[in-house]
Structure formats: C-alpha cells, structure tokens
Amino acid sequence: MKGVCRLGFFLGIFAYLYLPIVILVANSFNANRYGLQWDGFTLQWFLAMAGNASLMEAARHSLFVAVCAATAATLIGALAAIGFSRYRFPGRRLFQGTLMTLMMAPDIILAISLLVLFVVVGISLGFWSLLLAHITFCLPFTVVTVSARLQDFDPFLLDAARDLGASELQILGRIVLPLLRPALLASWLLCFTLSLDDVIVSSFVTGPSYDVLPLKIFSMVKVGVKPEVNALATIMVGLSLVLVLLSQLLLKEREGYGPLR
C-alpha cells in the first residue's frame, strides 16, 4: 500500500515535469498550427524553422557563445582549481567567497551588475560582453567540479613525477590533465548547458547587433503560439537529453575509477 502511494507520488511529479514538454514536442509534429487537436504528422514546422533566417542566426550565435564560454570557463576553472588546491596565497578566502557569491547570486543581480560594468568600462554590448558574462557565471561550477576530482587523487603521484625530474608542464600534461579528463568533460557539458539555458543574463548583456535564442524566442512567443518555436524547442529538448546522458556516463566513469580512492 505504502509502495503504491510512493509510486503514485513519483509518477504525479514526473507527469507534471514532463507533460508540458511532451505536449510541446508532440505539437512540433502536429499539422494543426495551434495544437488544438491532432491533425496528422508533419515536418513543416521544422522546415519553417530552418527557413526563418533570423531565428537560425540567433541559434548559431547561441551555440557559438555556448561553445566558447564552455571551453574558456573549463580551461580557466581547471587552472584555478589546480592552483587553488596546491598553492596557498593571501586572499584565498576572498577567492572562495567570491566563487560562492557568484554561484548563489540570483541571475538578475549578476546580469545587471555586469551590464553596469560593461557600460562603465565601455565594452559595447554584443558578442564579447555576452561571452565574458557567460564565462563568469560558468566559472564557479567548473572550479567546483574540478576541485572535487582533484581531492580524489593521490598527491604522491605529483611528488613522484617531480622526483623523477618531470617539468611543471610535463606534470600538467601527462598526469594532471589525463586524470582530470572526465571532470573536465563533465564541466564542459555543464557549462555548455548553462550557457544555452540562460535567459536572464543574456537579456541584459547582449545588444541588438547580436541576437541570441532566448531573446528571439521570448519576443516570438510573447504574443502567442509559434510552431517554429515548437520545432526549435523539440531540438533543444533532444539536445539536453543527450547532454544529461553523456555527463551521467562521465560521472559513472569517475565512480568506477578505483585504486586511488
């Protein structure tokens, strides 16, 4: 009896979380423009989406920013985590505090504070401001992911390499980076997703010259249902499905990693 209740509870919550997405995906294949009833299968909304030049441009921009931001944030975050784990420096606590603040701060605070910075410093709003903002909000997550992995591995490995005469670069390239690979990939995927998912920060720090998906979608759906958006949304749902499963596999690899723990 209790098991049935529990199952029902889980099913109810998952129905609430998934039903809207399922309907959205179904409607992207629905010949009925407003999704009022099922009028047969069609791919015309996907064609309409591909034919919508400004929407496609925004999608390209978003993907490009996401790839750049994920790569840069993973790189910077990994270096920060490595330096942070091995090197005591004054202001370490400030560093830690700033990271936590960045992670906990509501997006809207981050968004407008960066907007003020960009305008005061004179960085015009567009690709660069967007990229800097996305790297900034991704950074704490990469530092945390990579730090967690660093804590797992054996510090004697590094001492051994050093004793055997390895240079700093050799240690980084042949010991640290290979050991960190799953964490680096997982954090790249997370940053990529965070960047694509972001609505609030992007709304504030990009300019009219560089339209990105959330803004484009927002302005399109403010007035009503847009079947091209349904098609695009279906693709985005598919993408996040793939990304979650991928990162899950990477985490599994990490757990299976035995001897040093």
Binding site: L24, N27, F89, I109, T136, R162, I217, V229, S240, V244
Partner: protein, 284 residues
C-alpha cells in the same frame, strides 16, 4: 618545488583578478549606482542622491515588492511541501532506482527554462490540454481562464524551481543515518514524531539551502511573469528589467536590486546560524 610555483602563482593571480573584475567590482558598481542621481539620457549622473531609495517607498512600488515576496514565499512553500517527500523517498530508494529518479529530474532541469515556461503556457491556455481534459471529463462546461492568472505564475515558478529545492534536500537527507529513524521507531515513536523530532531537525541545513536557492532567485524570473501572468508587473525582476531596459533609470533599478541583495544576505546569515547551531549541538 620553488621554481615550479611560478606558473601556478601567475595563473592563480590571473584567475583571482578575473573573479574580482567580473564578480566583486560589478557588484560594488551596482551598489554605487543606486546612490547616484537619475538621468534619462546617460542612465545616471555622478551626483550623490538618495532619490532612488525614496522612490522605493512609493506605494505602487512597495505594492509590487510585497506581491513579489508573496509569490516567492508561496513558490518556496510549494517546492518544500512537494520537494521534501520527493527527496526523502528518493534517498530511501535502491541505488539504480535513485540514479534513475535523479536523471529524470535533471533532464527538464537541463532544458532551456524559457522553452519550459512556453510549454506550460500551451498546457494552461484556454484551448490547452488541461481545459480540454476538464471539459471532456465533464468537470467544467466552459474553458477556465487559467493563463494570465496568478495561479499560472505560481505553477510556472514552482515548475522551474522544484529541482533547486530537491537537490540540496536530497544531498542532506541522503547523508542522514537511517539507524536513527529505526531507533526512534523501536522506542515507540510514531511517524509524525520521528519526522518532527529526528528527520526534520537533522535536515534543516538542506531545508535552508533549498529555500535560499528558491526564494530570492524566484523574484528575478521576470519572463515567467510576462509569459504566464500577462503584461502586469508582478515580480521584482520585472521592475528591475523595466528600469534598466525601458525606463533607463539605472539608479532606481540598482536600488531595487540592492533590496534583493539584502534579502539574500539575510537568508545566508540565517543559514550560517543554523549550521553553527547544529555543529554546536553535535559537539555537546
């Protein structure tokens, strides 16, 4: 060891500089902006002024703030009521089942939140699935007006924020020593007693963390209010967005966000106090 430290030191300094430049400085600039005079052309004028804070106390403005806090509080409460049993049940599942539940929770979480808000709108529309289902079941005879209501906004906020509540709660409940629950049961405690006197107090850090992750960020989700609540200004996020992007009144927008920052600081202090009290109790 000494020579090898140089690269690391350089990198660490550079990253710290990045964090200061893009983390600390913008926040200080934001707070500073709130104390400047307003200027419709240049966003703000470099003259000290408390005008923005006076405008915050405007009845209309205060009204939005109060409603926004109500929305956020209701959303947080809903997330807690649903998220707590969810996290508890999940932490009691077998390992593979637990992974499955968490992955299922993560998939929507990793999907664009604007897209998900739009999806909710489809369900709630007057011709949407919910109305059609209710009509077909004969529960109602004419479509309900669900979209552009406060209920729709709360449902949307709840939908987006639920994982933020569940994950910290789960992290906390997963670590809970189940033998404590068994001991309580053996000693004759009922369900309610075990929950209120054992599980709940031990899960307070998770509860606080979840509430912090939900409460203040909820007030910033301006697009949910716009898409599900219509054009009205419902959340503090809408006010900030309007002052920054439409009215070009940066000092007022900054002052509004300073209020959010203060709320956040207050909640973090509360969290810290709870952690300290729990740590103290454990030591006794």
């Amino acid at each position: 060891m000494k020579s090898s430290g140089r690269t690391e030191r350089l990198v660490t300094v550079l990253v710290s500089l990045w964090l200061v430049l893009f983390g600390v400085v913008p926040l200080l600039l934001l707070v500073a902006t709130s104390f400047f005079a307003q200027d419709p052309i240049d966003f703000f004028r470099l003259a000290p002024s408390l005008e923005s804070y006076r405008q915050l106390l405007d009845p209309g403005y205060l009204q939005v703030m109060r409603r926004s806090v109500q929305f956020a509080a209701l959303t947080t409460l809903l997330c807690l009521l649903i998220g707590y049993p969810f996290a508890w049940y999940t932490s009691r599942l077998s390992r593979p089942a637990r992974v499955l539940v968490l992955v299922l929770l993560m998939i929507p979480f990793w999907t664009n939140s604007l897209v998900r808000t739009y999806a909710i709108r489809m369900v709630l529309g007057s011709q949407g699935l919910l109305n059609q289902a209710l009509l077909a079941l004969g529960i109602i005879d004419s479509p309900l007006r669900l979209l552009y209501t406060d209920t729709a906004v709360v449902l949307g906020l709840f939908y987006l924020m639920l994982p933020f509540m569940i994950l910290p709660l789960y992290a906390c409940l997963e670590k809970l020593d189940y033998r404590l629950v068994e001991a309580a049961r053996d000693l004759g405690a009922g369900f309610l007693q075990t929950l209120l006197r054992i599980v709940w107090p031990l899960s307070l850090p998770g509860v606080y963390a979840g509430c912090i992750m939900v409460f203040v960020p909820t007030m910033g989700l301006f697009y949910v209010a716009t898409l599900l609540g219509g054009a009205r200004q419902l959340l503090v996020g809408n006010l900030i967005q309007q002052q920054f992007l439409n009215a070009r009144n940066w000092p007022l927008g900054s002052a509004t966000s300073v209020v959010l920052i203060l709320m956040m600081a207050l909640m973090l202090t509360g969290y810290w106090l709870v952690l300290r009290r729990l740590a103290g109790r454990r030591r006794q």
